[in-house]
């Protein structure tokens, strides 16, 4: 008797990942679910800015043209889509996707759901007044110290609203801030009817989600072991999880695609962005990464099993973005002979000029690309006849003026500094606003009652 499997495919590893990937996942083989992650740590602050300028914005706009490309296949094949593309305006995103479905004549076949309740910016002051300090998890500082600079605040929701949306018949589920792993857990718990308090199943789904949440980084991309032998990366196969009711699953990819799925590729992804492996904490439970068993089960198939987990905590993580200051980075290329010495001389001259002008920075950082930009002092000195060295110098300050002035100090070095310099045609570097990330914790009882799932009328 064949065991039933549920196939969850990764559509992209981040907002900006390969545009073709989700299309090829949908067209290149049988899948049941497509998950797409759009939210990095400070993405919500960009979206809040957009929404404050135009109330119909505030979500990942790329998601809409992608839906236009894949909805016909999604509808024809009965695939369902989970994504956090909703950002701080899941409603606007869902309505835009519904418009696409209508234009394609698919609005009766593709039901769209949105999830809200993660955005706590509107009641942030209430929460602070109520005694929730929202301390920075790394430093312990209370949020009140930077309240005036806060740009966005969203709790990480887990799988529950996604399960509810799928149960309600939704084919496309659009959320705001939800954990990447939740986008995979939701489909698995819905399909298999697992108990939310079965911690080993929660952990299994969490690990499946962690493996595929960075897209091709589990299937041959960024693979250090044996990288020369990885073939076909011009057409990388993004990973697909074939999950079973017992919590074990196989990681694979569509036939005819490039890359590789091996114990090595899955292992490298498992350790990526990992803290304490015994306690990988999510809103839904805690996974023990030291319990994972990997076995190569045929070409481009890795079986994952034995995963154990523990009860979820009483807290949810909150991602807060706040305005920090400004930064800018300038570069110039110095050529042989004596490229490194010339680049260092230029750095000394530039720093002297900044100091003589009385300009103050929180940080001035110099790196020499080709020498020490990746490994710092571990690289040792460069070869004396190195062909070229890129001087890369960055500054950061709370105020804009000193950063602005710095951007005007790069080009003059070409005519007023050491010789054989080039690579400045890009023009003046731009001043960037720095939005920083403030991770905090909040009682889940403050968030969960406000979470809503709405399935749009066609």
């Amino acid at each position: 008797m064949t065991q039933r499997t549920v196939r969850v495919a990764a559509g992209q590893g981040f907002w900006g990942d390969w545009l073709e990937a989700p299309v090829r996942q949908v067209q290149g083989g049988p899948i049941d679910y497509l998950m797409l992650d759009y939210l990095a740590e400070v993405t919500m602050s960009i979206m809040q800015k957009q929404k404050s300028r135009d109330p119909k914005l505030g979500y990942a706009r790329d998601f809409v043209p992608l839906m236009e490309r894949i909805l016909p296949d999604v509808a024809a094949k009965g695939i369902r889509v989970t994504s956090n593309a909703g950002g701080v305006n899941p409603r606007a995103c869902a309505e835009a996707v519904r418009e696409v479905a209508r234009n394609l004549g698919l609005s009766r076949k593709v039901r769209i759901a949105l999830v809200t309740g993660d955005d706590i910016l509107p009641r942030l002051d209430q929460l602070l007044a109520g005694g929730h300090e929202l301390q920075d998890m790394d430093t312990g500082r209370p949020l009140s110290t930077i309240r005036a600079q806060v740009l966005s605040a969203n709790a990480y929701l887990g799988m529950a609203p996604i399960v509810e949306a799928l149960r309600g018949g939704a084919h496309v589920v659009i959320t705001g801030r939800v954990t990447d792993t939740g986008l995979t857990l939701g489909p698995l718990f819905h399909e298999f009817g697992w108990d939310r308090n079965d911690w080993d199943k929660v952990a299994a789904g969490t690990v499946a989600g962690h493996i595929i949440e960075c897209g091709a980084q589990a299937s041959g991309g960024n693979l250090l072991k044996g990288w020369r032998q990885v073939k076909g990366l011009a057409n990388p196969g993004f990973p697909v999880v074939e999950a079973r009711a017992d919590g074990s699953f196989v990681v694979t990819k569509h036939p005819g695609t490039g890359g590789v799925v091996s114990v090595a590729s899955v292992s490298e992804q498992l350790v990526y962005e990992m803290g304490d492996p015994h306690s990988y904490i999510t809103p839904d439970g805690i996974a023990d990464f030291t319990s994972i068993r990997l076995t190569q089960a045929g070409r481009d198939r890795v079986r994952v099993s034995g995963i154990k987990g523990r009860e979820r905590t009483d807290k949810l993580k909150v991602s807060i973005a706040y305005f920090y200051g400004y930064k800018a980075v300038g570069t110039l290329v110095y050529s042989w002979p004596e490229a490194y010495d010339k680049a260092r001389a230029a750095d000394r001259i530039l720093r002297q000029r900044l100091a003589d002008l009385g300009l103050e920075y929180e940080q001035i950082l110099t790196e020499f690309v080709g020498v020490d930009a990746t490994h710092g002092p571990l690289s040792g000195p460069p070869a004396p006849d190195i062909p070229e060295v890129q001087l890369r110098i960055g500054v950061r300050a709370r105020d804009k003026a000193p950063v602005e002035r710095f951007t005007r100090e790069i080009a003059p070095l070409v005519l007023t500094g050491p010789p054989s310099v080039t690579g400045f045609a890009g023009g003046r570097p731009e001043v960037q606003e720095v939005v920083a990330y403030w991770p905090a914790l909040i009682d889940r009882t403050e968030i969960e009652p406000g979470v809503r799932v709405e399935i749009l009328d066609p």
Partner: protein, 137 residues
């Protein structure tokens, strides 16, 4: 599984300790692969043995102290965790990213090449293993 074999390698010097079998200093590059990432201002490096037999050597020799010394001036504090199920160790390098994320001015603001930085480190390895990963002169 394919293993990359670098083409030109000198046999490393033998380091004979007063008691016990001969050992040689070998760069981690020949014993493990790695991937690194970020969590705020912390870079994590997952170090995975190239062959399961190498894992006990990694556990014994790639100590938290050695890694902290290797990254002196680059990281403020180092933690180590073991994952015997994956033949892996996980290191957290705190304060390694100039603030990390959007704050950092580094080329490697997200710690993506701390992996290869760790692979530069040398450890003493039993001579029979050293012979397997390094061609004799």
């Amino acid at each position: 599984m394919a293993t990359s074999k670098p083409s030109k390698r000198r046999a490393p010097p033998a380091v004979r300790r007063s008691a016990g079998p001969p050992v040689r200093l070998v760069q981690l590059r020949y014993l493990a692969h790695a991937r690194s990432g970020d969590k705020g201002d912390t870079a994590n490096v997952g170090l995975i043995a190239l062959e399961p037999e190498f894992y006990p050597v990694l556990v014994k020799q790639v100590t938290r102290q050695r890694v902290a010394r290797h990254f002196r001036g680059m990281a403020k504090a180092v933690e180590r965790f073991e994952l015997p199920n994956l033949n892996a160790l996980n290191f957290l390098l705190h304060g390694a990213l100039d603030g990390g994320g959007t704050i950092s001015l580094k080329t490697d603001a997200q710690g993506k090449v701390y992996s290869t930085a760790l692979l530069r480190m040398e450890i003493p390895v039993p001579a029979d293993i050293a012979r397997r990963v390094v061609k004799p002169r």
